[in-house]
Symmetry: C2
Subunit: 390 residues, 2 copies
């Protein structure tokens, strides 16, 4: 293993990857080519980066190593610092991605290694894309999806509610106007004495995510501690998943690969939803799957398959999961968009349930199921209880 001494030159710009730049002369000495990795050892620690090679003495001359600002988050470096640099092979997770690309089955330790490296920023865009597309084309069996879900939850925060019964409702989106239903359901369920720390995303493809709509009324960028504290105090909260840092690698996958390529492998749909519920300490989950020609799920057949798989995965995670298949053929309620939906939800709450039947009935029905699941209403009486609370 050849180590060479180089002087640090800082490029004060983040590029979204851990990357450094060495001159072609030094690259030959340590035997690296573009997209290989180098280990940089400094006084304060060490870091592994992808490496680019340059011919330009102006960029990184012989004896210099340019580092992008992303690297400085890992190890403290200053212009002119002397560091030791050597070639290192790709992390084991890269071989594991290749194993999945070839159709292999990953153990839970192997899935964890990939997720940890993805979260730490150790994987290049190319490697991360290969992982997501391997999931798309090769799929994962139920054991692998369970491993993926737990691994995704393990790299972020966990909410701890002790022995309390924590419930949640999750809607598989895609239908305009649905973002407001949580604003009605959460208060009903919390009033009945259950804990419901509802974490939601912002809009991805729709006009409003639940977090966007709630933000019209109150801040949603709460920390994990704030979510636990508020939920324990008043029974429920609606917050943004990202600021609580629940299953944060999910947004890495979405931003770097899934959104640019419009892909969403089925195993990752399950793991994405359930890793956040698992991290949030949910014990009983009601999954709402709207079905309609323009909804995310277009057929009853798909809805049943997805529901069954989610329920199976839930049992493996200790989250009892029930599935409600709802009508997703047209917008729900009268209004679409964060501000209008927030007002519509408030009016329904303030008037004791007056408003568009499509939203009131849906919210009451879902809240009722949650009351039954939480054991605070007898089976068959949940909807009635929810309506009387509203």
């Amino acid at each position: 293993m050849v180590w060479i001494k180089l002087r640090v030159k800082i490029f004060n710009v983040e590029i979204g990857e851990l990357r450094s730049v060495v001159n072609v002369e030094d690259a030959e000495k340590i035997g690296v080519t573009t997209r290989d990795r180098v280990k940089i050892s400094a006084e304060g620690g060490h870091v592994v980066t992808l490496v680019s090679i340059t011919n330009s003495r102006e960029v990184s001359g012989p004896g210099e190593i340019g580092v992008f600002a992303d690297v400085l988050k890992r190890v403290s470096l200053e212009d002119g610092d002397e560091v030791d640099v050597t070639y290192v092979p790709p992390p084991p997770s890269v071989s594991l991605i290749k194993k999945k690309m070839a159709g292999g089955r990953l153990t839970s330790e192997e899935v964890e290694a990939i997720i940890r490296d993805a979260y730490e920023g150790f994987l290049s865009d190319v490697e991360l894309t290969a992982f997501i597309l391997a999931l798309e084309y090769r799929g994962m069996d139920v054991d692998e999806v369970e491993s993926l879900t737990k691994a995704m939850a393990s790299v972020g925060n966990r909410l701890d509610f002790g022995d309390s019964l924590v419930v949640d409702k999750h809607g598989i989106g895609g239908v305009p106007g649905t973002s407001k239903d949580s604003l009605i359901i959460v208060p009903i369920v919390a009033s009945a004495g259950l804990l419901i720390p509802k974490t939601s995303s912002r809009a991805i493809m729709s006009p409003a995510g639940t977090a966007d709509t709630m933000e019209v009324l109150a801040p949603v960028d709460l920390t994990a501690e704030e979510i636990v504290e508020i939920t324990k105090r008043v029974g429920g909260v609606i917050a943004w998943t990202a600021s609580a840092n629940l299953s944060p690698v999910d947004s890495v996958f979405i931003e770097r690969v899934e959104y640019p390529l419009s892909v969403d492998p089925e195993s990752l749909i399950y793991a994405s939803i359930m890793s956040k519920k698992y991290a949030a300490g949910i014990r009983r989950l009601l999954l709402d799957i709207p079905v309609g020609p323009e909804a995310k799920v277009e057929s009853m057949r798909d809805a049943r398959r997805i529901g069954r798989n989610m329920a199976d995965l839930g049992e493996r995670l200790g989250i009892h999961t029930e599935v409600a298949i709802s009508y997703g053929g047209q917008p729900v309620g009268r209004c679409v968009g964060p501000a209008l939906e927030a007002r519509e939800a408030l009016e329904i709450l303030a008037s004791g349930g007056k408003g568009s039947r499509s939203i009131v009935e849906k919210a009451v029905a879902l809240a009722g199921i949650l009351l039954e699941m939480g054991g605070v209403a007898p089976i068959g009486y949940g909807e009635k209880a929810a309506r009387s609370i509203l």
Copy 2:
């Protein structure tokens, strides 16, 4: 479409992608998020880049746009230049990549659009990886492979030998010691009056590529013009494919995706080889497929399939292709490595064919087939003719 005026700030480092960086405030004004694209219009022209968003005023403050050095190859910019910037959607080739990912069939125009954008550097690592993996998992039919081959040839240089009969031999590598056979075959074939402009790669996985071995004796980094000129003058040449810029997008695929992920989709194996032959103006091609447990092709069955597909593709391109399946079970000749193989080849040429039978017989047999294919030896007499020339 919102245009805003920004001042250029140059980051003097190449990152291998066309990328610029804007402050989060300006990103909101033009409605872009990280990994979207922006169009930068300057006095001297315009360029489309991927965009990164920064919070740091030090990197790109409000009113500034940082550009990496790669961008300067497309449009002339200087620090402080005022430019107009707006959001642009991804190029159509990105939707075409998604079409192939979903299993669709690409027309020749669609394949051309992808190849052109890949060559121009308009595709991100994520998009390029998606294209290669779509080829791996979805495959291409023969029409698509023909389109791919022609498109790859069309973005680089073309060698023009007029009406002359131009022949070539191509070995599917992977067997140590084979890099020297071209050093024996090319002089024999050229002596017989045929034109043989042999372009070769450097070693990828093996100890020596033909270009590496030839370079021991003579420069191989020749331009397209030099290859044509030398071939017309002395009948043959051995040169490095890359410096002649034949099918240059092939090395983009290899360096950015195939090498890091160890993937090599079958459609791209065919297109990679044949696009270079097509660009080099080859009319008759002898394909040597060594078969052996450690060779690239491990079974006769695979060798026959690959040979048949290459011959079919050749006919579509106007390149009459014959296939020789050779023994790849152990190294060829006595020496392995550029310098030793170059000396071994020279000794065989100087002694009129004395040396290890495994290399002499192979070279004479392949040269003989080429003499027959080129019409300068009667069928059945090529090997004898080759031996007498040697």
